[in-house]
């Protein structure tokens, strides 16, 4: 069956999902799931043959097409607001050719997917590599990879393109109208961002891989002004690799009244003051702390200095793997590019390596890192963990973090209520706020979206002016309790920036509720 036979005209926009441009047209003409019969097989072979002719020792070509569509309503007005790839409806399609020549990478990309342009761009990539060789000290070394021919996609219950624009606007309008009726609310914005990514990767190792991913990220933010103070509060919905069901299942409207009341209460909440406190992190808050002080420092390219000029290096050294204690026995961390719903869940990475799940911290000890084909040899490993990713067709693929989670505690672990009941003097932190970390990920300062005082085992009142300072290993060594799998939730970010030029990744980070004993809070305001 040809894909064009069931391509639907979007009820929302009138855009056919595939057939809205030339590259989409070629996708629509290709039989879904039969990768070697795709129009892109022939185009790919043009690049691979040209690269071989030019003396490249490795080559790949990656076609991608992203439709980023975001619907946003601010104060009852439909606005163009940021989504996965910017505001409004954006279709971006093209290809990039990556080669190794003279032991050095070369890369070139173009939005014009014709045979002639593919030849020209392949030649450019080869020229760039050869020109660069005058300044190389070592050759690129790639770990082995199997050759695959496969089609992989994300299970989607409700395709976003099958939901009318009217319905999406109505959904968001209800939220903003309800919020603006609440006391002290001066502004509200609700939005749903969608990303449909299609990609076709062919490598000189013999792989032909086609993948299709839908990502959905809803949420709303209200701003309250009361007593001369202004505070915002966001209803955090976990973004997922999935369809419109992410928005439908999120109970956004049900939470409007609560979120508005919390924003208003936050305006007049007393400052927490500075001092040592226990903190309890909900999963929506812990997401960013995990991202910054576990996920980033365990990227192998940072560890070996590749990112020294921008994102930074890491406090972790190669020799720490298998030895260093990063946290308490409650800290178990797993990388996972296979878990359904994770925004970095894919069938294969942009090197053509099959996705996998692997532990990196067990009972506090560092046992592994995030690797890709280019960096695995630094760990004396002859396989890649499959962490290569590029934001779009135009970008050079490099090591990006996978979904990375703190595991839930074992059976018998406390519930969130028991965790609070067991805390004498603490602060409960929900949602993401201010965050800043040094270039080696030792010293982090984090805020949150909302804070509550915990006194003698009870959640009492909201607090303001809360930040906490984390020296990474001290912080995780003070992790003294995690809740069980019933309260484990996976949140994520659509804005993980790294690389030069900067590229954006969309990792998910799951966790249970976690308690950190005696951590410095409030220093930013003292």
């Amino acid at each position: 069956m040809k894909r064009r036979d069931f391509v639907k005209t979007l009820s929302a926009t009138g855009v056919a999902l595939y057939a809205s441009d030339l590259m989409g047209g070629l996708i629509a003409q290709s039989p879904q799931g039969r990768v070697l019969d795709s129009a892109y097989k022939g185009l790919s072979d043009v690049a691979l043959a040209e690269a071989k002719r030019l003396g490249c020792t490795y080559a790949d070509i990656r076609f991608t097409r992203n439709i980023n569509d975001s619907v946003a309503v601010r104060d009852k007005i439909v606005v163009d607001s940021g989504g996965f790839g910017g505001a409004g409806l954006r279709t971006s399609a093209g290809f990039g050719v990556r080669v190794i020549h003279s032991g050095v990478w070369g890369f070139a990309s173009s939005p014009i997917a014709t045979e002639a342009e593919i030849r020209r761009i392949t030649a450019r990539a080869s020229e760039v590599a050869r020109a660069s060789a005058v300044a190389k000290k070592f050759d690129v070394r790639l770990s082995p990879v199997d050759a695959y021919t496969d089609y992989w996609t994300v299970p989607v219950r409700v395709k976003p393109e099958d939901v009318s624009l009217d319905e999406k606007i109505q959904f968001l309008m209800q939220i903003t109208e309800a919020a603006l009726k609440q006391p002290d609310i001066i502004r509200v914005q609700a939005q749903i961002a969608f990303d449909h990514e299609w990609k076709y990767l062919a490598t000189s190792e013999g792989s032909y891989l086609e993948q299709e991913i839908w990502r959905t990220a809803p949420g709303f933010t209200v701003t309250a002004r009361k007593g001369g103070k202004v505070k915002s509060r966001t209803f955090t919905v976990a973004p997922k690799s999935a369809g419109y069901e992410v928005a439908l299942d999120a109970k956004m409207l049900d939470n409007v009244e609560r979120i508005c009341a919390e924003a208003a209460e936050h305006c007049t909440a007393p400052p927490a003051g500075a001092g040592l406190k226990d903190i309890i992190m909900t999963p929506s808050h812990a997401m960013l702390t995990i991202h910054e002080i576990i996920a980033h420092p365990t990227e192998l390219d940072r560890v070996v200095g590749f990112e020294a000029n921008y994102a930074g290096t890491s406090f972790i050294k190669l020799e720490d793997v298998g030895k260093a204690v990063i946290g308490s026995k409650h800290l178990n961390v797993t990388c996972d590019r296979t878990l359904p719903g994770g925004m970095c869940t894919v069938g294969y990475d942009d090197d053509g390596v099959k996705s996998q799940e692997w532990p990196i911290i067990r009972e506090g000890k560092l046992i592994d890192l995030q690797t890709n084909r280019e960096t695995a040899h630094f760990m004396n490993q002859n396989f890649s963990r499959g962490c290569t990713f590029a934001t779009s067709w135009r970008n050079f693929p490099f090591l990006r973090m996978p979904n990375l989670h703190v595991d839930a505690g074992p059976a018998g672990s406390p519930t969130p209520e028991q965790l609070i009941a067991d805390t004498k003097d603490g602060i409960l932190i929900d949602g993401r706020g201010s965050y800043s970390i040094d270039q080696q990920r030792y010293n982090g300062q984090f805020g949150g979206d909302a804070f509550w005082e915990i006194k003698d085992g009870k959640r009492t009142r909201m607090l303001s002016d809360v930040t906490y300072n984390a020296i990474t290993t001290d912080f995780w060594n003070n992790l003294d309790a995690v809740t069980g799998k019933d309260s484990w939730e996976m949140f994520g970010t659509t804005g993980d920036a790294k690389g030069q030029p900067v590229q954006i990744n969309h990792p998910s980070h799951g966790s249970p509720w976690m308690r950190i004993r005696r951590i410095m809070v409030g220093a930013a305001y003292s």
């Binding site: 020109a131 200095g305 590749f306 970390i437 040094d438 010293n443």
Partner: protein
């Protein structure tokens, strides 16, 4: 890829002729973005990204929508236009929608695509890496750097007959040197350079390498309030922290540092910074050579934002200006930004400091409280203790919690402004003319052993 005025006009005309709407606006952008990266004194990536796109906005009364495509063949444009037209018709009226800008708009003539930058290729970039690595090896450090180049064209056309066109080319050289024992790190760079002859790869490499060597084995000193001498890069990052507050709407809606006591009031006319803080957008500045085209194709004009510490202007978008019965500002606060400097050198700032810190770089700055412009960030890549007018040695990095609301009232010395990027990354236009500055009582809150 290079796009001439005529080529771009043909594309935008074609799109407008294909659209059926009350009004149409087409924004074109395209060109080449290239970059060379190196780390551990060896090239790690070299790339050329070619791109082109049109963002098409159609209007039906107070309804409007936009869509973007990167493919300019007739079929792709037709389908994108059909999509955006359908999208706009399905949207509810937007009371804040502004009609397209009417011509004539008199744009300043800015020649921003000089041949040396337009033709700056992978071979020249690799040669700079080679020169830099040579210096690094001579001095015994490892270099990690980035050399981005843009050759880009932007244009706006609308159905009122307006057409703006701006092409620019620039490059940067940014370098971090680290000592092999990983105890020292130093930064140097120059950004937004229009004439490649102004990039001194060897000289910058010497600076970064020497900083790395001098910053080895830093000792910890107590957090607290310090006099800080900010070199141009951290000064540029600090300056950027106040730009977002210059939006009139946020100020008048009571959501910003520039809000007045009552909702609807702003701080225009009030003295909020020190006498030595003057900030303006200088369109046509001969060093910056940045775009003369403002919001929706309005002709950008010089704006004084802050004069001797007094807020003179805030940015009024076209919609907010009409609602408030004011003229639109046209120039956004990040355009061709110039901060007035002084006559002091960094050396003089050090000599006149009893106890303080010389700061090479600020990193990972994030907002803590937007209403008070309180931010947090880190120092990085070379932090040195000053005592009795001399640098006495490297110290461990600090986390700071401070902001321009306080810091720009405590500037005690300013140097000569130099071009420096104000953003965290270097990928988009954002270079301003920024002086090094000495700030008193800057709040360092905790230490980091990160190097």
């Amino acid at each position: 890829m290079s796009y001439s005025r005529d080529e771009v006009k043909q594309i935008t005309d074609k799109v407008m002729n294909m659209c059926q709407a009350d009004a149409v606006e087409v924004a074109f952008s395209g060109g080449e973005r290239s970059a060379t990266r190196f780390a551990n004194s060896s090239i790690t990536a070299n790339l050329i990204e070619n791109d082109q796109q049109v963002n098409i906005t159609v209007y039906y009364g107070q309804k409007s929508a936009s869509a973007t495509t990167h493919q300019f063949d007739d079929a792709s444009l037709k389908r994108t236009i059909e999509a955006v037209q359908a999208l706009a018709k399905r949207r509810p009226d937007n009371p804040e929608l502004m009609p397209p800008v009417k011509p004539p708009q008199e744009y300043l003539d800015v020649e921003a695509a000089l041949p040396s930058a337009v033709n700056f290729g992978p071979g020249e970039r690799a040669e700079m890496v080679r020169q830099s690595v040579e210096v690094c090896e001579k001095l015994g450090v490892l270099g990690a750097g980035y050399i981005p180049k843009f050759h880009w064209t932007e244009a706006t056309a609308n159905s009122e007959g307006l057409f703006s066109y701006f092409r620019y080319a620039d490059a940067s050289f940014i370098l971090t040197c680290r000592t092999p024992d990983q105890t020292g790190s130093g930064w140097a760079g120059t950004t937004g350079v229009k004439d490649i002859g102004n990039i001194d790869a060897r000289g910058l490499s010497e600076v970064a390498a020497r900083k790395a060597l001098q910053s080895r084995k830093p000792r910890a000193v107590e957090p607290g309030r310090y006099t800080v001498v900010l070199e141009p890069r951290p000064a540029a990052r600090f300056l950027q922290l106040m730009l977002g507050s210059l939006d009139a709407r946020a100020a008048e809606e009571g959501r910003s540092f520039m809000s007045g006591k009552e909702r609807g009031e702003t701080k225009i006319g009030q003295k909020v910074f020190g006498d030595n803080v003057t900030l303006r957008s200088h369109i046509g500045n001969p060093i910056l050579r940045q775009s003369p085209v403002g919001e929706d194709g309005l002709a950008a004009r010089d704006v004084t934002w802050i004069e001797k510490g007094v807020v003179k202007n805030l940015f009024y978008s076209r919609y907010w200006a009409e609602r408030q019965k004011k003229a639109p500002t046209a120039t956004t606060a990040n355009m061709s930004l110039v901060m007035d400097g002084g006559t002091a050198t960094v050396e003089e700032m050090i000599k006149t400091t009893k106890r303080g810190l010389l700061v090479s770089f600020f990193w990972y700055i994030r907002g803590v409280d937007p209403m008070t412009l309180l931010y947090t960030g880190m120092t990085r890549d070379g932090l040195f203790l000053i005592e009795n007018g001399e640098i006495v040695g490297p110290v461990q990095n600090f986390r700071w919690n401070d902001g321009p609301a306080v810091g720009f009232n405590n500037i005690s010395m300013l140097g000569a402004p130099v071009p420096m990027h104000t953003g965290e990354a270097y990928d988009n236009p954002g270079t301003a003319l920024v002086p090094p500055m000495k700030i008193e009582d800057f709040t360092m809150t905790s230490i980091s052993p990160a190097v």
